[in-house]
Symmetry: C2
Subunit: 330 residues, 2 copies
């Protein structure tokens, strides 16, 4: 790996600090490097401002002059009421070169940030670490490309695809390692969605129960065409929950990453609408038999219709369980 690739990789890893908290802005990471040493770091702050570049340049101060900047997304070219354009800030800082992992597909920037830097005499490279940057900002990119958040369905399942016992018992199918991993996924999502049935049956907390990440609980949302209001008695009622009357409401959320945690009716609705981009299956080495399934009817007529939609993007052990990450293929 070249020095530039290593530094960009560090900037991208830094970008993950903001994941789940920067919406509607992308989670970006930025480094200021002088003579091969990192002199300042920045990442998009909660709520989306300051941008990573502004944070890094403020931290660098005078040290930015003549330095190189590594940033996981093209610096923005537009001034907004919430802050200046990063491209202008960079030019003003005296940075001599800017390495950009990927062009910003947001039409307000989309090449104009890089062009402004180039016009001002800043050396610009584009594309180092692009694949990793795409992965780190998958939710934001999904929103720009599809006009809706990336939607991830989480399922904790037995070998035979059951998510609970016949009577509803589901605590716990998976072990502590898998549950901790699932809680981390909550911390990385902007919004967590359940259906009315799950709310009424389980009244879940939908929070992040991981030491040090307790404040990273995503905003709760209930998808229900029939619910008038979310009861004030719900465990998550104090976290400003959203009531989504339809999948259109869900798709219209101005966030990057939505995590769907159940139940079967909600999963089926979203699968049938072909709105699931990713599935996180936590597979426990148990057979349940006649318990409740993770999904019901999803509108397939023939087996051929089921094929070709998913690929196993990742699988690994989590304690006695196994994580299977499925990504949509189209």
């Amino acid at each position: 790996m070249s020095e530039a690739a290593r530094l960009m990789d560090a900037a991208i890893r830094l970008s993950l600090r903001g994941l789940g908290r920067t919406a509607p802005n992308p989670n970006v990471g930025c480094l200021v490097v002088r003579n091969g040493r990192i002199v300042a770091r920045g990442w998009t702050q909660p709520g989306g401002r300051p941008h990573a570049e502004m944070m890094a340049l403020e931290a660098a101060g005078a040290a930015a002059r003549g330095a190189e900047l590594y940033v996981s997304l093209e610096p923005c070219a537009h001034v907004s009421p919430r802050g200046p354009a990063c491209a202008d800030l960079i030019v003003a800082s005296g940075v001599s070169a800017v390495h950009i992992a990927m062009r910003d597909p947001d039409p307000r920037t989309d090449g104009q940030g890089a062009a402004r830097l180039g016009s001002a005499g800043v050396a610009v490279t584009l594309g180092t670490g692009e694949a990793a940057a795409r992965q780190a900002m998958a939710g934001f990119l999904s929103r720009i490309a599809l006009g809706r958040p990336r939607i991830t369905l989480k399922l904790a399942m037995s070998i035979d695809g059951r998510v609970s016992m016949p009577g509803g018992e589901s605590q716990w199918i998976t072990g502590p390692e898998a549950r901790a991993h699932a809680h981390l996924q909550r911390a990385l999502a902007d919004v967590i969605v359940i259906g009315r049935g799950t709310l009424e049956a389980d009244d879940p907390s939908l929070d992040v129960r991981l030491p040090g990440l307790e404040d990273r609980s995503p905003r709760p949302a209930v998808l229900s065409a029939t619910l008038d209001a979310i009861p004030a008695s719900a465990k998550f009622a104090d976290r400003d929950p959203l009531l989504l009357a339809s999948v259109d409401d869900l798709c219209g959320l101005a966030v990057n990453d939505v995590l769907v945690e159940g139940g079967a009716a909600t999963a089926s609705t979203l699968l049938a609408a072909d709105l699931i981009d990713r599935m996180l299956v936590y597979r426990a080495p148990v057979v349940i038999g006649d318990g409740a399934p993770g999904a019901g009817r999803i509108g397939l007529e023939r087996l051929a219709d089921a094929h070709g939609r998913w690929r196993l993007a990742e699988t690994r052990a989590l304690g006695n369980d196994r994580l299977e990450v499925y990504a949509r293929t189209r």
Copy 2:
């Protein structure tokens, strides 16, 4: 790996040639080695005779004198109407040393084979490659230890644990690589079992459709408490099918390896009776939704009862699908 370990490994791999065809005898592999060169090979022949040692010694002829013999299971000590005791044959052959992977737990041998060799002045080592030998003869060892065959349940499933579409369509959930692997498992089984429902719904062939292995189709069996006879119209009717009126009949089969291929009622009966030793799950990257499950009620009262019974012994990609091998833990 030592020279002895390598040679024993070769003998064990040779033993797999007989897998599924040697019952009620174990599938054994045997090498005759002279000055580090393999001069003869043997493996238990279909029906269980000749034994691996007899085949190898006959092939070696005079070259056996002073040679070393590698065998995956202790040579038998008992004369039967079907053949002499291998321990006697080995002594008569003039072999100077015998390497045995594992002691034969069959009470008719159980140490007496090795003892007879030792008494006759043959050098005996025991235990090289024992773990691999145990795995290669798992069915036989199960029969000796539990008094019944090893029972393997095969399931071709979607991510969500469905084995067919709501209307019953199940061809194909998995792709050609997974199906070929499943056919190879048939070739390695003595008996293949389905339930009455599967017979009536699918009339499956239950044969081995792999080039060169067409003659390795296992004996078909139908588990049904209510069926009077297997209809002569069944596709496998010409392969001397067995009618099993109960799981006791199944357990009483004088074979080593039984493969259970469906359907849900049969799987549930055997899971509920805790008679499944191994599950081969072929997992396709598809979501089906409200199709038929692989198993129904298996008699669990609480989720805790489901835990601790299985461990994922192996997993690997088979084309677009994935094989999950679960082994019982107790």
